[in-house]
Amino acid sequence: MVRTNPNLIREIKKLGAFDITACYSCGECTAICPLSENNFELPRMMIRYSILGLEDKLLSSPQLWLCYYCGECSESCPRDADPGALMMAARRYSIIKYSLGGIARIFYSKIMSIVSLIVLSIIAGLGIYLFKESLDLTRFDPFSLLSYEFIHTAGLVLAVYIAVIALLQGIKMYNYIKHSALEGNLPAGTKVKNLIKSFFIVLFREALAEQRYSKCERQSRYVAHLAIFWGFILLFIATTLDYLKNSNILGLRESYEILKAIDIEIFGVLARIIGIIGGLIGVYGSIYFIYKRLIKDDVYSEYSHASDWVFLVLIFLVILTGFLIDIFIYTNMFLLAYAMFAAHLIFAFDLIVTAPFTKFAHFGYRLIAVWFYEYQKLKISK
C-alpha cells in the first residue's frame, strides 16, 4: 500500500518534465525502448511513479539509470509527453535525493548553482593567490605557480573528499534499490561470485564501452557521449602522467633501480599524445552536445536544464584551458600559460568539487544501477 503525493510530480516538472502529465499510459514508450527488458521496463513505470507521487518506488528503481535518453520514446510518444525528459528530470530529482542532506538541490537551481560556482571559483582563485610561488617566466614550470606539496596535498584532499561522498551517496542509493538486490536463495558463494562477475561486466561493457547505449537507434549520440567519457579519462591519464613526470611520489624514484632506468621524459611525451587525443575527442563530444542543445533539432535536445549547461560548459572549459596551456607554452607566452593553468585549475576544481551533486554524479549512480541490473540478470539466468 502506497500513498499518492501530488507534490512529487510538481517537483519533477520543475526539473524539466513539463509535459509528462499528458501521458495516457499507452506503453508505446516502453515497448519501443531498445533498452527496455523484462523486469527492467522503462520508462512508463517511472512516469506512473512520478505522476502518482510514489517517491520511494521511483528512487528505488534502477531503471532510472539504465536509460541513456536515446529519445526513441519521446519521438514516438503519441501524446508528445516526452517520456525521455521525465527520465532525465527524475534522475535529477534522484541526484538531489541521494545527495547528502539534499545539498545537490543547490545545483539544480539556476541562480544558486551559478552563485555557488562563483563562490567555489573565488575559493580556488584565492587558494592559488595565497599559496602561489614566485613565477618562473623563462619557462613553464607549474610548480613555480603552486608548489608541488600544495598540489599534492590539495589533490589528495579532493580525492578523499570525492571518495567519501561518493561512498556515502552510493550507500544511500543502494539502500533505496537494495530491496531485492541481494535477496533470493542463492548460496552465499554464488552470490559473491555473481557480484564479482557482474562487476567486471559493468566495468568493461558499461563503464568503458557504454555498450547498452549503443543499442540506441541514433549512434551519433552514443559516440559523442563515449567521446566525452573517454576524453575525460584520457585527459585524466595525461594529467597524471604529466604529474608523474614532474614529481617524485614518496621518493619512489630514488628507491627503485627499475624506475631510475626509465627515461622520465617519456612520461611527458606520452602525456602530450594522450592529452591531445583525449582533448580532441572530449572537445568533439562536448561541442556535439552543446551544438545539439543549441539548435534543438531533435526531441532529446529540445529542453536543456541549467544543470546540463553548467556541466557541459565546465567540461568544455576544462579541456579548452588545458589545450591553451600547451599552446601558450609552445608559443612561449608563459605568462598566459600560467594564467590558463590557473583557470584550468579553477574550472577543474569547480567540476570536481561539485561532481557528486551535479550531472557528473550520474556516472556513479548509473554504474551502481547497471551492476545491480547485471547481477539480477545473472540471478535470473541461473
Binding site: 506503453g27 515497448a31 519501443i32 523486469n39 513505470m45 501524446r79 508528445d80
Partner: protein, 426 residues
C-alpha cells in the same frame, strides 16, 4: 453549359447525403444530390455488417439508395468534380464538371459483360487493392447508378468491351460537361477517408503485405468476399491468429490526428466477432488503450465479444516486424496485464486506421474548417448543423467522426435546418 435549379444541393452521396436528400424530398423540396465518385452510397455501402446489431450494411443502405434514385424530388448526379460554390444574395450557384464515364449512362444495364472480357487488371480501390479490377468496371455490386465506367488511365483501347456490350453503351467520344446548378441552400456531406497509415513506419502498413487496414479487412469479411473466404494476402492462408491494433493514427499527436475516430473500437469488435464466426478456432486479439463502446447497445456488444472469446489486451502496439520467410508478423507492446514488454506472433495484423475528413479545400467550400479539417459548426451548442456560412449546412462525418446512427440523425437535422433556411419564417 447545362443549367439546373433546385431547392437544396446536397454534396456527397454517402448515407448522410442520401438521408438529408430524402428528408428534404419528403418535405417537398427539390434536391440535387452530387457525388464525386461513380456511385452513391459512400462508405456505408462498402461495409460488411454494421454494429451493434450486425445487420448487413448493404441490406439497409441499398433500399435507401434505391429510394433516393426513385424519388421524384431527387435528382442524382455522379462522377463529377465541384468547380465552385458561390453565394449570391438568396441563392447559391454551384458549378460542377461531369467527368466522362465513356459509357452511356442511359443505355448501360450493368450486366458486367464488359469487365469480364477486359484484359487489363489494376488494383481494385473499392476492395482496398486486395484484388484486381478491370479497366472497364462497375465500381461495386450494389452501385447506383449500376453502370460501368472506363478507367482511361489503364485502358488499352482493345475494343473488347465494345464488342460484347449488348446495348452498345460504350461511348469513347464522351466529353466532360459543365453544369451550373442554382440552389437555395447547400448541405455538405462529404464524409471521411482513412488516415494515411503508411506514415507510421514502425507498423509497416503498405510494406508488409499481411498488415491490413481495417477497411481491407472489412472487405475480406464482406458477404461478397474478394477472397471467397477469410484469407491473408501474402499466400492465401487461412489466418489462425489475428492481431488487431487499435488507435492507428487516432489519438496520436505524433503522426496521426489528435482526436479519437469514434468508430474504430466498435468496428474492430465487430470484425473480431465476425472473424470468429467464420474461423471458429482462430485466436483474435485486440490491442487497445481504452475500449470506447459508448453508444446505445455498444457496451453490450463489447461484453458479447468478450464472452465469445475475443481477447482484449491493453497496450498500444509500438512496432510491427515481419518474418521475411513466413510473412508472419511480430507485434511489440507493453502488456498491462503482465506489466512486461511482449513480442507476439500473428498470421495477420489489422490496423484500426482512424478517419480524416475528405474535404480539405476550404477555399472551395468557403465554410470554415476546424483545426482538424472538419467543417466547423458555428452554433454548436444550439444548432449543430450550422456552418460559418448562412445557408450552408453540414451533415454526417464532414463535421467530425461519428457512427451511422449519429450520422443519420445529423443528416436529418441538417435537412431540417436547410428547410428552415429556405422558408425563413422569422
Amino acid at each position: 453549359m447545362n443549367k439546373l435549379a433546385c431547392d437544396v444541393v446536397v454534396i456527397g452521396g454517402g448515407i448522410a447525403g442520401i438521408q438529408a436528400s430524402l428528408d428534404l424530398a419528403n418535405m417537398n423540396y427539390k434536391v440535387i444530390l452530387l457525388d464525386s465518385g461513380p456511385s452513391i452510397g459512400g462508405k456505408m455501402i462498402l461495409l460488411s455488417k454494421t454494429f451493434p446489431t450486425l445487420d448487413c450494411a448493404s441490406c439497409i443502405a441499398t433500399p435507401r439508395m434505391a429510394e433516393s434514385t426513385h424519388h421524384p424530388n431527387i435528382k442524382i448526379l455522379t462522377y463529377l468534380q465541384i468547380v465552385s460554390i458561390d453565394k449570391h444574395d438568396s441563392s447559391f450557384e454551384i458549378k460542377i464538371l461531369k467527368k466522362p464515364r465513356y459509357v452511356d449512362e442511359s443505355k448501360c444495364i450493368g450486366c458486367g459483360r464488359c469487365s469480364e472480357v477486359c484484359p487489363v487488371e489494376v488494383p481494385n480501390e473499392y476492395e482496398g487493392g486486395l484484388v484486381p479490377r478491370k479497366a472497364i468496371y462497375i465500381p461495386f455490386p450494389n452501385s447506383l447508378p449500376n453502370v460501368a465506367l472506363i478507367d482511361k488511365e489503364n485502358c488499352i483501347k482493345c475494343g473488347a468491351c465494345e464488342r460484347v456490350c449488348p446495348v452498345k453503351a460504350i461511348d469513347r467520344n464522351q466529353k466532360q460537361e459543365e453544369v451550373l446548378i442554382e440552389a437555395k441552400a447547400v448541405i455538405i456531406a462529404t464524409g471521411i477517408d482513412l488516415i494515411d497509415y503508411s506514415k507510421k513506419i514502425e507498423y509497416g502498413g503498405g510494406k508488409y503485405v499481411n498488415v491490413l487496414s481495417s477497411y481491407q479487412f472489412e472487405r475480406i469479411l464482406n458477404a461478397t468476399h474478394p477472397y471467397g473466404h477469410i484469407l491473408r494476402p501474402s499466400d492465401g492462408k487461412i489466418p489462425r491468429n489475428i492481431g488487431y491494433v487499435l488507435c492507428v493514427g487516432s489519438r496520436d499527436l505524433n503522426w496521426g490526428v489528435k482526436y479519437c475516430s469514434a468508430v474504430c473500437c466498435m468496428y474492430s469488435i465487430k470484425h473480431a466477432i465476425m472473424a470468429l464466426h467464420h474461423l471458429h478456432d482462430a485466436e483474435i486479439t485486440i490491442y487497445y488503450m481504452d475500449i470506447r463502446t459508448y453508444g446505445k447497445g455498444f457496451e453490450e456488444f463489447y461484453n458479447r465479444a468478450v464472452k465469445e472469446g475475443v481477447k482484449f489486451v491493453r497496450g498500444k502496439v509500438a512496432k510491427i516486424e515481419e518474418d521475411p520467410e513466413t510473412k508472419d508478423l511480430f507485434v511489440y507492446l507493453e502488456n498491462f496485464d503482465t506489466g512486461k514488454v511482449e513480442i507476439r506472433r500473428h498470421d495477420l495484423v489489422v490496423l484500426a486506421v482512424g478517419i480524416v475528413p475528405t474535404i480539405n479545400d476550404s477555399a472551395l467550400f468557403k465554410a470554415k474548417l476546424n483545426v482538424y479539417g472538419f467543417i466547423e459548426r458555428k452554433l454548436i451548442d444550439v444548432d449543430p448543423a450550422s456552418t460559418s456560412i448562412d445557408g450552408i449546412f453540414v451533415a454526417g462525418t464532414a463535421a467530425g467522426p461519428m457512427d451511422i446512427p449519429d450520422t443519420i440523425t445529423s443528416a436529418s437535422a441538417a435537412a431540417m435546418k436547410a428547410a428552415l433556411y429556405i422558408e425563413r419564417k422569422g
